[in-house]
Symmetry: C2
Subunit: 166 residues, 2 copies
Amino acid sequence: MSTFNLYLIRHGLAGQHGDYEDDRQRPLTDEGKRKTRQVAKRMHELEIQFDLILTSPLVRARQTAEILKEAGLGKPLEEAAYLAPGGDVQTWLDWLEGWKNADKSLALVGHEPTLSTWAELLIWGKTGDKIVLKKAGAIGLTVPLSGKAIANCQLFWLTPPKFVLS
Amino acid sequence: MSTFNLYLIRHGLAGQHGDYEDDRQRPLTDEGKRKTRQVAKRMHELEIQFDLILTSPLVRARQTAEILKEAGLGKPLEEAAYLAPGGDVQTWLDWLEGWKNADKSLALVGHEPTLSTWAELLIWGKTGDKIVLKKAGAIGLTVPLSGKAIANCQLFWLTPPKFVLS
């Protein structure tokens, strides 16, 4: 069965919730930027490549996606409103119908618990808070090119940042 | 909720199936030993520690477990017949009742599809060929100390060896 690779990447460490009038503007901390750059560098060394990076429009996710792009992991980089917290997986699946293609690789940069919830739906068709996705961590799934994606994906990677840093 | 860490580790690359009269005697190849040593070294650098390594008695698993031990990841090392291919998760769960303890960390070294099947049962309570565990790859789960483990574990790590090697 033909598949493509999907990577779900959580934004790095960001400023304290509540310290910003508009939470959407909350940026990565210096430490968050540093660690996210290390993860991105390591992913590049591992020869991971994205044909497209889709990111939540929130600043902390957008900054994370920019770091992935700057590390040479992929371009173009586009914002997708449905990757904001609480976004609906079906909206992304509808978009996916027009994009998916063998040998392509897609990265989604966003938030918890949305990303692990989406991963659970894609793998098992239901959610249960069973996947621990740390900030600047990543999930790797293979998605079938034909048929429905929900409950039909396989998990090949899940990592906290500390297990890819040297 | 108190938990302990469980690592499920698949044996490294072994000789060709069919080349040995007794498949239980099939050893790791030189390449399998080399890569498994690299993975073990990396796990040690990541400060992963096991309070006990339980291994399938089959040679390729036993050799993998010995490599983990030699890399300083943990001791003692014991054989468990139920970790051979097709082993029953309930036999291990019965044993676990007498062993489990907070702050302890346990490694099981064995075979596919047994290990990913066990992981799926521990995470979701059912199996579906949804987790891809490569040779010398690892799964990391948190297991609750009280109550039943089946369908109550969380997944925090899944890696093919290539994503931990430098």
